[in-house]
């Protein structure tokens, strides 16, 4: 009887100790060699231009997995759990690479098919290298209006090395990718935030833009920065150069060029056009953004801050769903296009349930990480509790009944 009553407090003490250990684990960020290796694997994939261009969504998944693994390690999850998450990160990184390989092979098939059907390999190869307007027209009717004049076109058409098979393939695969991205774009609400008038802006479209678009095509791997930079300089008013703002993306490898294009981007803020809007045709959106007049006016009219309400994004556990991933990608693109704007991630942190709060914090962290990896400067990212926002009616509990 005595032993029974004594065992109760001892049990309580030991369970408290366990809990304290768990809670303390949540605060220590340990150095984890396997995690660092996985980080390196994702970094490798991220650095590969073909992965970035052809397996963007797989890359995003790898990034998310990495973030989850990092969070778990930081939260002091048991070693085998971290190990498991690290394994997933590695597999995701490999998946992104494999996907890019597959896409390259597919585009090669498409090219060879065309060669076989046409029976004139030399000509068709040349044709691909020069990307006639007709090709683009088929893919992107709206872009057609921005077709460059032949004179503008020329420098971009001729990269220093004669277009070999590999670059040609690249262009192909980007094309193949384009409709997909375009389709994805359609259901992204953020894009509509700016009124566009494609037909009008197309008429007024400056010539330089087309040239730069061309240059990006002929210079797909960004491995030869010279031609792109050259044609960017040729583009009037630095507008074309802004296209290169993709290279201002910190993940990219060409720092000099990043500096150059960032500078030029500053010179023409209204036209700031994010080149991350991969090859393809985003028609109206691109056209509108590239046009200095209305775009500049809009920039003044729109609120400088884009608000991302966490309660309106869908998640599976702490991982963003693909829909959320797309939405974030769109926001990142918008931010890269409009350098004067910032983004605030809003969440209702004032939750009674500690578990829900932890999940929420992890979600915010992941959203933030995704935007940062997409090249948004940390200074442009604010995390805000929804209560802080004066204009924001306080949401009761976004997780119990989301305001969908």
């Amino acid at each position: 009887m005595r032993s029974l009553s004594r065992s109760a407090p001892r049990l309580r003490a030991s369970s408290m100790a366990l809990l304290l250990a768990l809670a303390a684990g949540c605060a220590t960020p340990p150095g984890h060699p396997a995690l660092e290796q996985a980080d390196a694997a994702v970094e490798r994939a991220r650095r590969s231009p073909r992965v970035r261009a052809l397996a963007a969504s797989e890359l995003d998944r790898a990034e998310v997995a990495l973030q989850v693994a990092r969070d778990a390690a930081r939260a002091g999850a048991p070693p085998d759990r971290v190990e498991h998450l690290v394994y997933i990160v590695n597999q995701r990184a490999a998946l992104a690479e494999a996907r890019a390989t597959q896409q390259v092979a597919r585009s090669e098939i498409a090219m060879l098919d065309r060669v076989i059907v046409q029976g004139r390999p030399e000509q068709s190869r040349q044709r691909r290298a020069s990307f006639p307007a007709r090709d683009r027209q088929a893919r992107a009717p709206l872009q057609l209006q921005a077709r460059p004049s032949p004179a503008e076109n020329r420098p971009a058409q001729m990269p220093p090395q004669a277009p070999q098979q590999a670059p040609a393939l690249w262009q192909e695969s980007r094309q193949a990718d384009a409709p997909l991205r375009e389709a994805r774009r359609v259901d992204v609400p953020v894009q509509a935030s700016r009124p566009t008038d494609p037909s009008r802006s197309a008429q007024e479209a400056p010539q330089g833009r087309g040239a730069v678009k061309e240059s990006r095509r002929t210079d797909p791997l960004l491995q030869e920065p010279q031609p792109a930079a050259r044609s960017a300089q040729k583009a009037p008013e630095g507008r074309g150069a802004v296209k290169e703002s993709r290279q201002a993306d910190p993940v990219l490898q060409e720092p000099q060029q990043a500096a150059l294009s960032a500078q030029e981007a500053r010179e023409a803020p209204g036209a700031a056009e994010d080149a991350r809007t991969v090859p393809g045709p985003i028609g109206a959106q691109e056209t509108a953004a590239a046009e200095p007049g209305p775009a500049a006016a809009d920039a003044e009219a729109v609120p400088p801050e884009i608000t991302l309400r966490l309660a309106q994004l869908s998640f599976a556990g702490v991982e963003p769903t693909s829909e959320t991933g797309e939405r974030l990608a769109a926001v990142a693109e918008q931010l890269l296009r409009e350098p004067e704007r910032s983004v605030s991630i809003e969440a209702e942190f004032n939750l009674p349930d500690p578990e829900a709060r932890t999940t929420l914090e992890q979600r915010v962290e992941i959203v933030r990480a995704i935007l940062l990896r997409r090249g948004i400067a940390p200074a442009r990212l604010v995390v805000r509790a929804s209560g802080d926002h004066p204009a924001e009616p306080r949401a009761k509990s976004p997780y119990v009944a989301g305001p969908y």
């Binding site: 309580r12 809990l19 768990l22 759990r81 597999q91 597959q102 076989i116 044709r127 578990e355």
Partner: protein, 129 residues
């Protein structure tokens, strides 16, 4: 007296385990093992359909091994381990599927390339486009 002590002990146990579950749940939110298991099965089936058996046998075998281990773990009432293994199996199978597709595409590309290279060069058929 004994009854009271037992009751107290039980209450303490309950409270502690509830709190521990809450803390653990906050640290790691994971889907149910059953879901993970069926997801892995589905992914493996897809990989097979993509020809992984022939084109990415190593990855596929790894996925299948892990799925079996996951099922065993689930039966042995180790849901956490079952879930992890199932998730890994799914990741392996997905990789196997893509690798198989990539290998297939590369094989076709090689074939086509040979076809193009071996073909006698025809001179100007006229109006190729």
């Amino acid at each position: 007296m004994i009854g009271e002590a037992i009751q107290r002990r039980a209450a303490a146990c309950l409270a502690a385990s509830a709190f521990a579950l809450a803390v653990l749940g906050g640290c790691a939110q994971v889907p149910l093992p059953q879901e993970a298991l069926s997801a892995a099965e589905l992914t493996i089936a897809r990989a097979r359909a993509a020809g992984a058996e022939r084109l990415a046998p190593v990855e596929l075998a790894r996925a299948e091994e892990k799925l079996q281990a996951a099922q065993a773990a689930a039966q042995a009432k180790a849901p956490e381990r079952a879930r992890s293994l199932a998730e890994q199996a799914a990741a392996d199978a997905e990789l196997a599927a893509i690798e198989a597709q990539a290998a297939q595409a590369q094989a076709i590309a090689t074939q086509l390339r040979q076809q193009v290279e071996q073909r006698p060069r025809r001179v100007a058929l006229g109006g190729g486009a």
